[in-house]
Subunit: 416 residues, 2 copies
Amino acid sequence: MPPLRYELLRQDDSSRARLGRVTTPHGSFDTPAFMPVGTQATIKGLLPTMVAELNSQIILANTYHLMLRPGSELIAQMGGLHQWMRWDRPILTDSGGFQVFSLSDINQIDDDGVRFKSHLDGKNVLLTPARSMEVQNQLGADIIMAFDDCPPANAERDEAQGLEAAEGADESAPPLSTRASRDVEGESPNRRAPKPKTTPERLREAVTRSARWLDLCVAAHARKQDQALFGIVQGGIDLDLRTWSASHARGHDLPGYAIGGVAVGEGYEQLVRVVQHTAPLLPEDRPRYLMGVGYERDILAAVRSGVDMFDCVLPTRNGRNANAFTPTGQMRLRNAKYAADAQVIDPECDCPACGTGKGFSRSYLRHLFAAGEMLGPILVSAHNIRHFQRYLLDIRQAIAHNDWSLIARRWPVAMA
Amino acid sequence: MPPLRYELLRQDDSSRARLGRVTTPHGSFDTPAFMPVGTQATIKGLLPTMVAELNSQIILANTYHLMLRPGSELIAQMGGLHQWMRWDRPILTDSGGFQVFSLSDINQIDDDGVRFKSHLDGKNVLLTPARSMEVQNQLGADIIMAFDDCPPANAERDEAQGLEAAEGADESAPPLSTRASRDVEGESPNRRAPKPKTTPERLREAVTRSARWLDLCVAAHARKQDQALFGIVQGGIDLDLRTWSASHARGHDLPGYAIGGVAVGEGYEQLVRVVQHTAPLLPEDRPRYLMGVGYERDILAAVRSGVDMFDCVLPTRNGRNANAFTPTGQMRLRNAKYAADAQVIDPECDCPACGTGKGFSRSYLRHLFAAGEMLGPILVSAHNIRHFQRYLLDIRQAIAHNDWSLIARRWPVAMA
């Protein structure tokens, strides 16, 4: 009995998009799927029951953070991540690699692994493919990710994906670039020192090293019967490297595959180019996961290239900063023009904030943020997650009925 | 048709405790009742639906805060407080007086009112009895309070009411004195400069001025048909002043009466002495409200003196500081001894955190606070409110069945 089963329910006529269903030891989720990010074993500000009611069928947690605090041994002792955080649906954990490379001071990288200083207390920590597997085995997620070498991306802000200028600027908000989407929850991108650009040689080294590390992960994975290990295709925007990496990963006959190293500042055109090239290289009968993506438009392009799974911190991070997603773009609720606005964020939305038009007014939400009240981040985070789950519901409808006019009509933001 | 109806359902045999029911334009609440505090038109961290599910039948909001931000005119324009904050059950607003005297820099007090600087932006504001009525009429609560002269109390920390020493100390937590219970939510007592002691002359002046201001409030109150104005008995620990103040207030034949100026550092013995003296001076057929009280033991003594209504910030304030109320005393969830504790806070509790034993472990809650996650304050605030609502449910049971052994058995903390 494999730890994960993928059923392809319908292939779209006009694109590579596919409707599917993934079954894990903690139940099933429909694909294409959107996974909210619970970095520290909680979706910030939301009870797990509410996250489920927003139609989240699977969530993501960050191995790096939980390994450092409270430690995966403690979580294992408490019965594993599902039991500990009271989430009985599927969970995916990342490998810790991305955060090691983006959040910590790295002392040494070699073929064995990465030696780094914890961002919490400066303690020296060694993360290797085998250790990442051990930690993820202890956490006990349904889907676990291979540990890979993630050199810093050549990140630049992707202004095209930022807010409409008409909504004004807010210094307290993090930069709204595609880059942000691959961060962990709760970390300000500003905390990190600028990293050097990755040279073509370093990128090639990372791809070949990630391949060797995948071999080691497969060998070290101790819970193959109930945890599905996904391999990750790397290669930046070098399509030949992507082809090589995909071919190596497929050699392991894994239950699923991810595309990593995108949404790191390469811009929409390159993102689409890489995903359109890479997704078809992955097996038809396994789920495909595009890591850290993203905005509505990115998700649509990736779905139409054959991607099945997405994760992103934007709904909760932007929710905490009073930025509400709507089908026509983001709404900055701190804006003075909402002071006496009796409308809800989105009258079509059925989230706890909007209540299909009977919820909390923009006026009240603006007050909550002005007054520094927790209920503001709570309500707008819930709304934003529901926004993405409703969007994915409509995408699944579009595939099911072979009718993409639904997306064009209801989600102008995805057509931008 | 009066704006408020009090039904006395049962008088206890062994004390002045009484079971009752108060009906307002927004529905009824059972008495003795506990009102959570929503200073800025939100119970910190909780959706209104959750506050109601915890069995809160009425909440309190602070006129001072809402008057300064966003302004009562705006809230009136948005349909009033109930509509704006999406709470359709009864609401009580205080007069703003207590916060003016405790939070702001006062420029001038005279028989007209108080001129002070806003704690938000330093702007000069004048609050008078008529203006307090106007603001409360605009907010539209079911019960509104007379504007009174509240000289600073001779507050000293009441160590007897603090945490058990065994639980350790936490500098980040506010002082746990009865004083804290009369504060507004979200304000650190440390922000305030020490106030001079109130002399007997100043106390007498405050009582007579409050009486004149009550006359002005009664005259200015413009929504007598749907908002019940409560008079407030002042007088500190001077029982003669209390008698005089009660007699004056009764002269107005108001729909309800409050005892103010207690739980301000006078200590448990004096609190009980004042309440035992004052409550019987108030009419049998009207609800009696003891402002800003308090701990379980204080509430029990006041109920047995004939008090019907209570409000307190302790459940939410302490909840945000990882202090959970239990029937045997407070539990500091930051304590290292809970790191691997799989039990819920209180296995008998049916709140969202405890789930009658099937909820979140102390281990997980401790992690949430260590990691600075919002879900910690949310869950422990919900638990603490439910703790007080369960306590009041049991008190009402005790009166209904004339059996106080229930309280002694289930709530040892109240017997301390």
